[in-house]
Structure formats: structure tokens, C-alpha cells
């Protein structure tokens, strides 16, 4: 199976090369068609062979690649990537069908299209940071040319803007990667690029929890702003905290151990066994950030859970000035920016409307359906698991960004008169739910954010296709010059309703599941023990604002629907070609997918369940 997985990644690339060598456009097209069909079949085989109870990656391959810097070729699939892989291969086939009538150098087009597919699959399946980065960049290049050559009138501007924006994000990611590469020796004994999710990374034991960069409990030391020693001492009424820290600060290990023992023994004498437990618990709590879930703390000193090194290491980092914590904060933000650009989130979103407006229809489908998901996927795969503590500290900023994107994107969508631009801004709004859901770090939030990616992959691809169908006939996308299309194309109108109402979050369609779960998850962040428990008001304000987003969404979608589909049909519609079978096929598949996902969301959740359980637990939530 792991062979199949790797073959699936590279088959499109091989097909892409062959496309260039094909005798003509038609041959290249049918070659590309069969390649995508086979890729889709292989992804379905992965689904069939997948073990749904396992949390870690499956079908892993690990081969040394650039030994000098420990780069490995490491791939595998887990619950986080599986459904995105199927989404990618499925949309690739539909996008290919949508590009059936490409006339401008079809050989190059289909070849680039297949290269793009390799890049996208690689991003979702790579388990080595370096490899991930390579695929992340690889997917950029074909996209650049596909927009820049086959796009609309301002294609060059849009393509460069897209390229540079994402490249800027990639540089941020590169910095984080270099930092992680440098810091890993301290964690796992050698420089490595292996992703935290990998089940066979380095010298891991047989535990079921995913290997995090550092041991799960130890990792918690990065948990927060600098420990206020003075305040704690004041509260405790003595200098014990300082003594303990001083003892920890001693360079010589055995000396330090002895000193710490002495401090603890003193405290034991003063406070008794229970008192010492209490004292340790308080000490540990004090260095935790507000709102953090209470941990199982060493209260029973007799049993002496002192080997729970969680707090000891935490103290060490604090005593040394919390250096890793500084790095974690920087790295969190840099990698977040890299992925927020891709997602895209306000204020890094302005490449998206331009790229979408200029891109040809199938490329818009892929761009909205798959490429945006790389951002959300990478946040879930890299940013949060690597730096959960920074994520907890800054959750309100990130969630605020998500709420802002929801409302801002919806407002901007409402103001558009270009149909495609409206759909593009709706993507900004919908991706805000992804940011919000991830940021609140609740189970429902994560499930919702993830489902929102899949659901939006279906609904946005469908919306862009619907726009494309009309654009092909009208050669304009001006909302004020359309109207009455429902009468001219009744069945098309019906499918359009499925697509746009799925985006609107109508229950029974795929958009609802993500939205409602993210909303519930946001409110859930205020429940005791969750990250928002310390700032309930903020959680509720975020939740309420996100809930109000559904009004705006209904506003712009219905207004658009009225302007395009309702009213009397225009004269020129008589000249419009009827919708072809191929077009109905694409609409039908996407529409049925939207309905099925909306009714049976477990289709996705059954894949993610085990993996999410492991991930959330390792981040200390859930």
C-alpha cells in the first residue's frame, strides 16, 4: 500500500511529462484524463485499505534522501490527510472534465495540470517537513503558469501576485523550518525534519500518542508567558519558590538535584506530606497560563510523582529565561502567517479575488477546492501540533482573525458586482470559520474546521464551475447584466441552488456541518477547562459575531441568486448553447457530494476520528 501511495503522488507527474510528448492536444487530454482517473482510483483504494481505528500515519515510507542534513523522503496518510487526498483526486478529475475544451496549447496545459496534482498530493502526504516544503513550492509553479497563461485579461498581474504572496509565506515557513531543524537536537538527539505526526519518527517507543517534537508532558514547559516569581513568592509567604528556582539553576546536575531535594525536604518538614503536594501543585499552577486545563498534579508526595518531570522542566526553562518559549512564539506566528496567506485569511487575502477572477474555470475550482485547503491542513498539521502552547496563549488573536475574516469577507462579497469575485470573497468568509475553529481548540471546533475545508472544497468548486458555465456563454460576469437564468436553464438553476445554498450553510448540504460545529465549538471554548474559560465574555462575543455572519452570508448569496437567476430571462439567452451532458455530469457529481456530505457527515468524521483524538490529546485539550 505504501508503494501505491507513492505511486499515486508521482503518477500525475509522469503523466505530465508524457503529455508534453503526446502527438497532439486530444491525445494529451485523454492521457491526462486516464491519469486522473487512475489517481482517483488509487486514492479510493487507500480509503478501502485504511485502518480507521489507528491514530498515526499509515502506509508510511521512510527513505533517506539528503543525508547531509537528515532529510528523508517520508510519506504516509492519516486521518487528517485521507479525506483531503480524496477531495484532491476527485476535484482533479472534475476539473479535468471542466477543461475539456481548452484550446490554447492543450499539451502544456494538461501537463502543468498533472504536475499541479502531484504537488497537491505531495503536500497532503508528506511527513517530512523538508519534503512538505518542496511540494508546497512545487504546487505553486504550475499554478502560476496556469493562471498566467490561460487566465483572463489581467492574468499576469494576478499570477505574479499569487506567486509572490505565497512565496512570502513560504519564506516564513522556511525560517520556522530552519529553527525547528536547529532545535530538534535538543529534543530528539539529532537534527531532523520528521513531522510530529509520523508514527515511526526517530527513536520513538510503541506508544499510541503521536510523537511530538518533544515528549508530550515535557513539551508543556513552553506553556506560557514568563513565570512571575515575585508574585508567587508573595502568595506563598516565603522564599521557597526562589530557593527552588535557584536550586534548579545550578549547572552541575548532581549538585542541582541535591539542592532541589534539600528544598523539597525543607518544605516537607514545614508543610507535611499533603502540604508539600499542595505546594507543588500551586507552584505548577502558577506557571501555567490562565485557562489551561488543570493537570494531574503530584499531590500524593508519598508516591512522589516528582518524576513527573513536567513541572520540573517547566521550571528549568523558566529559570533559564524561557528561551524555547521565545522561539515557539516566533515560530508559531511565522508559520501561521505562511498558512494564513494560503488559506487565505484577512489581511493576507487580496491575492485571492484577483487570482480567481483571472484564472480559467477549472483552475479556479482547483484553487478554491484544494489549494486553499493546504493552508488549513498545514495549520492543523504543523502550526498547532508543534506550538500548541503558543496557540493557547494567542488563541484569542487568531480566533479574532477568523471572526474578522468571516464578517469582512461577507461584507466584501456583498459589495461585488463581478459574480466570480463575489464567490472568491465568499471563500475568504468561509475560510474564516476554519481559522476560528482551529483557534478555539475544542473538539467540535476542530471537527468543524476540518469539515468546513472538505465542504467548502465541494461547494466552492461547484460555485466556480457554475459561474464558469454561464461565463462561457455570456462572456461577462456582471451581476447587473444577468437575471432570469432560472427560466432559461431550469435544471441548471436547480443545481445552482444546491451549490450556492451549500455555501450558505443550509442544513442538509455540506456547508452547514462545518459552520454549526465551528460555532458550537467556539461557544464550547468557554466551558470550564477549555482555553476560553478565563475570558468568557470574549468567547461569547466571538460566537455571537460568527453567528451573525450567517445573516450576512444569506444576504449576499440570496441577493446574488436574485440578480442572476430570478426575474425575466434576457433576450440574448436564446443564443446561449444548452448545458451539455459533460457540464451536467460535473454539476451533478458535486451537487450529490454536497447533499451526501450534508446528510452523512460521518463519511468524513469516521476518517478523522482516531487521528483527531490523538492530536487533541497531545495538545492538552479535548
Amino acid at each position: 500500500m505504501s508503494l501505491l501511495l507513492n505511486f499515486m503522488i508521482f503518477l500525475p507527474a509522469i503523466g505530465g511529462l508524457l503529455c508534453l510528448a503526446a502527438p497532439g492536444g486530444r491525445q494529451a487530454r485523454s492521457l491526462a484524463f486516464w491519469v486522473t482517473v487512475v489517481t482517483l482510483a488509487m486514492s479510493l483504494m487507500l480509503v478501502a485499505a485504511f485502518d480507521y481505528s489507528a491514530a498515526g500515519p499509515q502506509f508510511e515510507t521512510a527513505v533517506p534522501w539528503i543525508s547531509a542534513i537528515n532529510v528523508e523522503y517520508r510519506t504516509g496518510v492519516d486521518g487528517l490527510s485521507l479525506s483531503l487526498v480524496v477531495l484532491t483526486t476527485g476535484l482533479a478529475l472534475l476539473g479535468l472534465l471542466a477543461s475539456w475544451n481548452i484550446e490554447k496549447s492543450p499539451k502544456v496545459y494538461f501537463s502543468l495540470y498533472l504536475f499541479l496534482l502531484t504537488g497537491m498530493l505531495g503536500v497532503f502526504l508528506a511527513l517530512d517537513l523538508f519534503l512538505f516544503y518542496v511540494f508546497f513550492e512545487i504546487s505553486l509553479v504550475p499554478m502560476y503558469f496556469l493562471i498566467g497563461i490561460w487566465g483572463g485579461p489581467r492574468r499576469e498581474y494576478a499570477a505574479i501576485k499569487f506567486f509572490l504572496f505565497t512565496l512570502a509565506g513560504s519564506i516564513c515557513l522556511l525560517i520556522v523550518m530552519l529553527g525547528l531543524y536547529l532545535v530538534t537536537p535538543q529534543a530528539v538527539g539529532k537534527n531532523t525534519w520528521v513531522m510530529v505526526a509520523s508514527s515511526t519518527s526517530s527513536d520513538r517507543g510503541s506508544e499510541a500518542v503521536p510523537a511530538t517534537l518533544v515528549d508530550e508532558r515535557v513539551r508543556r514547559m513552553f506553556a506560557g508567558p514568563r513565570f512571575d516569581l515575585e508574585r508567587w513568592n508573595e502568595a506563598a509567604g516565603d522564599e521557597s519558590g526562589r530557593e527552588l528556582i535557584d536550586a534548579l539553576r545550578l549547572d552541575d546536575r548532581s549538585e542541582s538535584t541535591e539542592a532541589v531535594k534539600a528544598v523539597l525536604a525543607e518544605q516537607l518538614r514545614l508543610r507535611g506530606e499533603a502540604g508539600l503536594g499542595q505546594w507543588l501543585a500551586e507552584f505548577t499552577q502558577a506557571v501555567l497560563i490562565e485557562g489551561r486545563k488543570p493537570l494531574a498534579l503530584p499531590v500524593e508526595v508519598g508516591e512522589a510523582n516528582l518524576d513527573d518531570r513536567y513541572w520540573s522542566v517547566l521550571l528549568v526553562d523558566q529559570a533559564r529565561g524561557g528561551r524555547y518559549w521565545v522561539f515557539a512564539q516566533w515560530a508559531f506566528w511565522l508559520s501561521l502567517i505562511a498558512f494564513l496567506i494560503k488559506l487565505p485569511s484577512v489581511p493576507f487575502h487580496t491575492w485571492l479575488p484577483d487570482a480567481h477572477v483571472e484564472a480559467p474555470t477549472p483552475i479556479s475550482m482547483i484553487l478554491a477546492g484544494v489549494l486553499l485547503k493546504m493552508g488549513g491542513y498545514a495549520m492543523m498539521r504543523i502550526t498547532w501540533p508543534y506550538f500548541p502552547d503558543a496557540a493557547i496563549v494567542f488563541w484569542h488573536l487568531v480566533a479574532g482573525l477568523g471572526v474578522l475574516a468571516i464578517l469582512y469577507g461577507a461584507f466584501c462579497a456583498m459589495a461585488q458586482t463581478d459574480w466570480k469575485k463575489l464567490v472568491a470573497y465568499s471563500s475568504v468568509s468561509h475560510m474564516g470559520y476554519v481559522t476560528l475553529g482551529i483557534a478555539v481548540m475544542t473538539a467540535s471546533g476542530w471537527n468543524g474546521a476540518y469539515f468546513q475545508m472538505i465542504g467548502h472544497g465541494v461547494s466552492s468548486a461547484m460555485m466556480f464551475f457554475l459561474v464558469g458555465v454561464i461565463y462561457e456563454r455570456s462572456h461577462h460576469r456582471d451581476l447587473d447584466r444577468l437575471g432570469g437564468l432560472w427560466t432559461r436553464f431550469p435544471a441548471f438553476g436547480g443545481w445552482s441552488m444546491v451549490g450556492f445554498f451549500a455555501a450558505m450553510g443550509l442544513p442538509g448540504l455540506c456547508g452547514f456541518i462545518g459552520e454549526i460545529l465551528v460555532l458550537l465549538g467556539t461557544f464550547d471554548a468557554a466551558s470550564p477547562g477549555a482555553i476560553g474559560a478565563g475570558s468568557v465574555g470574549l468567547v461569547y462575543v466571538y460566537g455571537a459575531l460568527a453567528a451573525c455572519g450567517v445573516i450576512l452570508t444569506a444576504g449576499y448569496i440570496l441577493w446574488m441568486f436574485q440578480r442572476v437567476y430570478m426575474g425575466r430571462p434576457r433576450e440574448e439567452y436564446h443564443d446561449y448553447a444548452p448545458i451539455s451532458r459533460r457540464e451536467y455530469l460535473i454539476m451533478g457529481v458535486l451537487g450529490v457530494a454536497a447533499i451526501v456530505l450534508g446528510i452523512v457527515p460521518m463519511l468524513v468524521f469516521v476518517m478523522t476520528r482516531a487521528t483527531f483524538a490523538g492530536m487533541l490529546a497531545s495538545m492538552g485539550v479535548g
Binding site: 512565496l167 529553527g179 533559564r320 473538539a443 432560472w486 458550537l520 467556539t522 479535548g622
Partner: protein, 761 residues
């Protein structure tokens, strides 16, 4: 027994759904038979529902099926559930919905004949019926929300059925968005409950259901009772309560009112009521079922379902909202001249009665009124539809008059329903039409509540006075509609000339509903109120014994007015006399200086539309334009400016390159320039500089950021190097050991591992 009921229920639900799918997929083949196909499917569905009612064993409640739907916990074990749930309330609602839906389908065969989208109409109508049934059988709030939105969708589609015209377009959009405003509140309430109750969104009524694993399902009420009993409300919900500053049940009030917001939207209560009159742009059969009998009552149904979580404060707000709607709508119904709008405002007013009933605690009567109102209001709309049909789509009652002679059956049915909605009864007895039984109970409840609180709260008397006042207004505005339409001389000859009695397919449902309007109160009163007892018990609603016996001393005040005849006969007779030959007399009064401003304000719907359309919706659009401008000019402008900065930098670098380095390295530069020339031909030349600039800028950033990290690495690296051994007692080494010993057995590299000697006493 349960299996049979389950099968019947599933059949009853699947019939309309099958109708929708069939008509949408094979509509062209079915063609004109679509109406009969859909109607017979609905008829079958109705039979199933009636059978369920007949079999309904112990008037209890049972969850017939429950499925996991949305995962809400990290371990993947906790779910939001959906399923099939029935209690006596649900059984009655199912029978009512399917029965009325079948009649409306039948009616539509005649009414919609010849419409170009005939098939699609029945598909939508069947989908609506399915969604409405889905609301009724929901065991959980999440499923309720799903079908709640689906009825909203079908309502949207049906209002905008004639979407070529401008008015239906605007009306359907308005209806949807107004509902969404309410739904935002619904979502907030749902979120609060979700967070505070740990994800249990099952309805209170489902408690104690027949599930194998009784522990798994906890109702909200159970969870609440447990926390309240343990005195934990303050602690476990402290965060929200503190923030709200509303006392220990503040969060619950907020959650209840949030959910009620959804009901306000769906049931068109003040201040979200404006969509319902506009919704009359839809075909009249739609108005008769969606916008009077069933969907708009869903809000009342929801409020009834969540009743136990409504705190006294929340109930006071609910009663007040109902009161405002009740009075406002009745007054507007008194001045409107469009027959459907009069009925729409009458619907609003009656919905106000139901909401007031819930607010004041007359739970069973709210639902009873929901059912009786469904019959007579559906019939009224169908009669209005027949009139409109006969009058060539003329809806202005000023142009009617004397239609009673042309369409006697319709006039009779309309007249019966006027009596029913007025709460007519035989004086000095307890025999009356359906509206009498239900409205009487509501007014009695309002009396009880109003007198109860008027001692503590000055405006409390309004809670009994206004429902009573509107009980007088109702016969008046209904008599007005009847008189203007059916009595007197024809006012416009062209309308009157071709008017004709409705065809049988329209007349039969009208008459059937009229019969129900007569007997349903008398027939259903006992079963409904009895049936509501166990439900109320499960939900922990106090039942007021006096509410259930007309003639009981507790009801004296209400009955003194209503039972003994004065309540309905006087205003009705006055209305019929006053409007017997048109609006002449009334308009003279309306033009008098004292009444004129009020009349104008009412005719303009109290300017709600002006405020909403011009002010709020205008502000939203303006806001969107402003943000769009900001997005293009400022956010994107910043991006472009950065890019230009990069390109300027690159130009400068390029100049340096050309003027300084280039001259010293002639040969190499030559080839670079050539390469540049090639690039220039492909892209307009700017690109290269652009990319170069960005790259230089990025490199600079990279260097700066990495440099800022340098101290970290430097600080840790030499310590290892200096000591010449693996650093053990630094946090770095702990990573190593921590990782190796993650499974639990910690080596002696841990400072406190020698715990036994030093710490154990």
C-alpha cells in the same frame, strides 16, 4: 407496537420526500399528473399519521430511533443526535400537518392549473411538508434546527415561486433574511446551551425515553435539575453569569431567549414580523399552509418544546413580545384592504396569542390554539384563494363586494371560519366553534398571569387586558373582511361579472377544513389537553387544573365576557353592519383629525419596512461598499505598495549592478544582460525586477529574524562544548531523556528520581 409505529412514521415522512424526488427527477414524464401524484402520496401519509394516533398506546412519549450525527468530543464518542421522536403532542401535530398538507395539495391541483412550473410547485410543497414533519419529530435541538432551516428554504422557494415578478423576489429574500436574523439568535442560544450543558442538545421532552442505554441520553432538563439541585449552577456556569451580571440563571435566560429569537423570526413576531405580510406574494395555497397553518406555527412549537428551560424572566419577555405582536397586528388587520394581507395580519395576531399563552404558562392551550388555528386559517386562505382566483387575481377588497351570491359555498366556509376565529360559542353553554375552546383557555391563562403580576408590577394589567381587547378586535376585522368581500353590492363590475364558484378540487378541501373549524375544538379539546398532561409532566410544566375546565370559578372573568356571548356577537354584528356596503363609513372616520395619523401609520405598517429597508439594510450595504473600498485601496494598496517598494529597491540594485559591478566585470555582465533581454521579451520586463526585489527583501527579513534567534543557539551550544560531555542537567538534555523515557520508566537522568530516600519520611 413501537416497530409498527416506527414503520408508519417513516412511511409518513418518506411519502412527501418521495413526492419531491419523483417530481424533481421525473417531472417531465409525470407532467400534469404531478398534482394527483403528490396529493395521493400526502393522503397516504395522512392515513399513516391517523393510524399512529389511533394506535398511540399510553399517550406517553417515545424515542423511536436515535442516531449519532455530529461528533463533539475529542475521543469521538460524544455526538449530537438525530432521530425520530414522538409524544402525544407530536402525534397530534403530525396528523394536523399531513392532513392539512393533503388538503392543500388537493386544492393546489385546481389553483395552480396551467402554471408553467406546475410540477415544481408540488415538489416544493411536498418538500415543505417533509421538512415540517421533520421539525415535529425532532428529538434534539440540532435536528430541529436542520428542518427549521429547510422549511425556511421551502418557504423561500414558494414565496418566490413567481420569481419573474419583482415583488416575490424581494419578498422571498426578505423572508429568508428575516428568518436568518432570528436564526442567528437561535445559534447563539444553541451555543450557550451546548457549552453550558456539555453538549446535550436533546429536547426536554425526550427524557425517560425507551432507550437500552439509559445513561447515555441526558436531557437538558435532567442536567439542569441535577446542577440546580446540587447548588452548582453558580459554580459551573459562573463564568458566563459573572460576565452577564444577571444572577445565577442569567445564562439560562439568555440561552432561552436566544432560542426564542429563532421563534420570533419563524413565527413572525415583533420585531421580525415584517416578512409575513410580504410573503403573501406567494401563491395562495402556499399562504394557506406555509404562512398560516404550519410553518409560522413552528416558532410556537419550538418555544413549547424548550419551555422547561425558559426562566420566569425569559417568559416575561416572551409574553411581552407576543402581546406587542397581538395588538399591533390586530390593529393593522383593521385597516388593510388587500384580502390576503388582512389574513396575514390576522395570522400574526393569532400567533401572538399563542406566544402570549406560552409566556403566561398556558402551555397546552398555546398548542391547542396552534392546531385549531391551523384549520380555520388554512380554510380562510383557501377561500381567499378561491375569491382571488374567481376575481382574476384581484386582491383588493375595495373592488369586491357581493361575491357571496356568486360563490355561496366559499362564502359559507369563510363565514364559518370567521365565527371560529372569533371564538364564537352558543351563549350560556360551553359549546362553540374550535376557536372558542382554544382562545378561551389562552385568555383565562392571561387573566391568571395578569392578575398575578399586576400586584407586583404596574403594567401587569396589560397582560390580561390586551388579549381580551384583541378578542373583540378579531371578530371586528374578520367581519370587515367578510362584509367587504361577500356582502353588499358589487363595487367593480368587471370583477364581479366573471366570478364563479371554485371548482370541486378547491371546494372540497375548503369545506373539509370548515367542518374541522367547527368540530375540531369540541372534538380535540379533551384529547389534546389530556394528551398534553404527560408531556407537561415530563417537561416539568405545572399544569393548572382550573385551566382545563370551562366554567371553573378561576375562569369566571374570562367567561363572563366570552362565554356569555357578548364577547363575539357584538363586534361581529357591528362589523357586518358597519362594512355592509364598503368602506364608505369607515373612511369618513379614518379621515377625521383624531384618527387620521393613527390610520396612516397603520396603513404604512408603522414604518417598520422603512426603517428596515432604508436604514438597516441600507447601512449594511453601505458598510459593505466601504469595506470593499478599504479592501481594494488600503489592504490591497498596501500589498501593491510593498511590491513597488521591492521593485524600486530592485531597480536601485540593478543600477548599482549595471554601473558599478557591471563595468568591472564586463564579460559576465554581458551574458547576464542577454539573459535578461530574453526574460524581458516574455514578461513585460518588470517582473524580473519585481521578483528580484521581493527576493532581496525576503532575504533581509530572513537574516534579521535568524539573527534574533542566534543568542538562543549560542547560549545552549557552548555549554555542551565547554563541559565536553553530554549536558545532562539542562533543559535540552531533558528533552533527550524525556523523549527516550516517554513510556514512563524514567532513568536516573532525572533530578528527582531518587525520590524515595530524600522525600519519603
Amino acid at each position: 407496537m413501537d416497530e409498527t409505529i416506527l414503520t408508519l412514521l417513516v412511511l409518513a415522512m418518506l411519502m412527501p420526500l418521495a413526492g419531491t424526488v419523483l417530481l424533481l427527477c421525473a417531472g417531465r414524464m409525470i407532467g400534469d399528473r404531478a398534482g394527483w401524484v403528490a396529493t395521493s402520496l400526502l393522503g397516504f401519509s395522512f392515513l399513516c399519521c391517523v393510524t399512529i394516533w389511533g394506535m398511540w398506546p399510553d399517550r406517553g412519549h417515545r424515542v423511536l430511533a436515535l442516531y449519532n450525527w455530529l461528533p463533539i468530543t475529542a475521543d469521538g464518542a460524544g455526538f449530537l443526535e438525530v432521530g425520530l421522536f414522538l409524544d402525544s403532542l407530536g402525534v397530534a401535530m403530525m396528523a394536523m400537518v399531513s392532513g392539512i398538507a393533503a388538503l392543500v395539495h388537493l386544492y393546489s391541483i385546481g389553483y395552480m392549473r396551467g402554471d408553467p412550473r406546475y410540477t415544481r410547485f408540488f415538489a416544493y410543497l411536498s418538500l415543505f411538508t417533509f421538512s415540517m414533519m421533520g421539525i415535529v419529530i425532532s428529538p434534539s435541538l440540532i435536528q430541529l434546527l436542520v428542518f427549521w432551516e429547510l422549511v425556511g428554504l421551502t418557504s423561500y422557494l414558494l414565496i418566490g415561486f413567481w420569481y419573474e415578478k419583482r415583488a416575490p423576489q424581494l419578498a422571498c429574500r426578505k423572508a429568508f433574511i428575516m428568518n436568518r436574523v432570528g436564526d442567528a439568535g437561535f445559534l447563539i442560544g444553541l451555543g450557550i446551551l451546548f457549552a453550558q450543558l456539555g453538549g446535550h442538545l436533546l429536547l426536554p421532552a425526550t427524557e425517560g425515553m425507551l432507550m437500552a442505554d439509559g445513561n447515555h441520553i441526558k436531557s437538558m432538563i435532567g442536567a439542569l435539575a441535577a446542577t440546580e439541585a446540587a447548588g452548582q449552577v453558580a459554580s459551573s456556569h459562573a463564568g458566563l453569569n459573572d460576565w452577564l451580571g444577571l444572577g445565577s440563571t442569567g445564562w439560562l435566560s439568555l440561552a432561552g431567549l436566544g432560542l426564542f429569537c429563532g421563534a420570533v423570526g419563524k413565527s413572525a413576531q415583533f420585531p421580525l414580523h415584517t416578512w409575513l405580510p410580504d410573503a403573501m406574494e406567494g401563491p395562495t395555497p402556499v399562504s394557506s399552509i406555509v404562512h398560516s397553518a404550519t410553518m409560522v406555527a413552528a416558532g410556537v412549537f419550538l418555544t413549547a418544546r424548550i419551555y422547561p428551560i425558559l426562566t420566569p424572566e425569559a417568559r416575561l419577555v416572551i409574553a411581552s413580545i407576543g402581546l406587542i405582536t397581538l395588538v399591533m397586528a390586530a390593529l393593522m388587520a383593521l385597516v388593510m384592504t388587500d384580502i390576503k394581507r388582512v389574513l396575514a395580519y390576522s395570522t400574526l395576531s393569532q400567533l401572538g396569542y399563542m406566544v402570549v399563552a406560552l409566556g403566561v404558562g398556558a402551555w397546552g392551550y398555546a398548542l391547542f390554539h396552534l392546531i385549531t388555528h391551523a384549520f380555520f386559517k388554512c380554510c380562510l386562505f383557501q377561500c381567499a384563494g378561491s375569491v382571488i382566483h374567481a376575481a382574476h387575481h384581484e386582491q383588493d377588497m375595495r373592488r369586491y363586494g357581493g361575491l357571496g351570491r356568486k360563490m355561496p359555498w366559499t362564502a359559507a366556509a369563510f363565514g364559518i371560519c370567521v365565527l371560529a376565529i372569533s371564538g364564537a360559542a352558543i351563549p350560556l353553554t360551553t359549546l362553540g366553534l374550535s376557536g372558542f375552546y382554544s382562545k378561551d383557555g389562552i385568555i383565562a391563562g392571561a387573566f391568571n398571569f395578569g392578575f398575578g403580576i399586576s400586584g407586583q408590577w404596574a403594567p401587569g394589567w396589560l397582560f390580561w387586558f390586551l388579549p381580551l381587547l384583541v378578542a373583540y378586535l378579531t371578530p371586528l376585522y374578520m367581519a370587515r373582511a367578510f362584509a367587504l368581500t361577500f356582502m353588499g353590492r358589487p363595487r367593480v363590475e368587471s370583477v364581479h361579472q366573471h366570478a364563479h364558484e371554485a371548482p370541486p378540487s378547491m371546494l372540497i378541501p375548503q369545506l373539509a377544513l370548515a367542518v374541522m373549524a367547527i368540530i375540531s375544538g369540541w372534538m380535540l379539546w379533551k384529547p389534546m389537553i389530556e394528551a398534553s398532561q404527560p408531556v407537561m409532566q415530563v417537561m416539568g410544566i405545572q399544569s393548572f387544573a382550573w385551566l382545563h375546565e370551562p366554567g371553573n370559578p378561576g375562569m369566571k372573568a374570562a367567561h363572563a365576557w366570552l362565554l356569555q356571548g357578548a364577547g363575539w356577537i357584538i363586534p361581529l354584528a357591528f362589523g357586518l353592519w358597519w362594512y355592509r356596503d364598503g368602506l364608505g363609513r369607515a373612511s369618513r372616520v379614518a379621515e377625521s383629525w383624531a384618527v387620521r395619523p393613527i390610520h396612516r401609520a397603520l396603513l404604512n405598517k408603522l414604518y417598520f419596512d422603512v426603517v428596515y429597508d432604508r436604514l438597516i439594510s441600507g447601512m449594511v450595504v453601505a458598510q459593505s461598499r466601504i469595506l470593499d473600498w478599504i479592501d481594494r485601496r488600503i489592504v490591497d494598496g498596501l500589498v501593491n505598495r510593498t511590491a513597488h517598494l521591492g521593485s524600486d529597491l530592485a531597480t536601485a540594485t540593478g543600477r548599482f549592478d549595471r554601473d558599478v559591478i557591471d563595468r568591472s566585470l564586463d564579460g559576465a555582465a554581458e551574458s547576464v544582460l542577454q539573459a535578461g533581454g530574453v526574460l524581458r521579451t516574455t514578461q513585460a520586463g518588470r517582473v524580473r525586477i519585481y521578483v528580484l526585489g521581493i527576493f532581496v527583501a525576503i532575504l533581509l527579513v530572513l537574516i534579521v529574524v535568524l539573527a534574533s534567534f542566534l543568542p538562543i543557539w549560542r547560549a545552549s551550544a557552548p555549554s555542551a562544548a565547554a563541559t565536553g560531555r553530554p549536558v545532562i542537567w539542562t533543559f535540552e538534555s531533558d528533552f533527550v531523556s524525556g523523549h527516550r523515557h516517554a513510556s514512563g520508566s524514567l532513568g536516573d537522568s532525572i533530578p528527582f528520581s531518587a525520590k524515595e530516600e530524600s522525600i519519603n519520611p
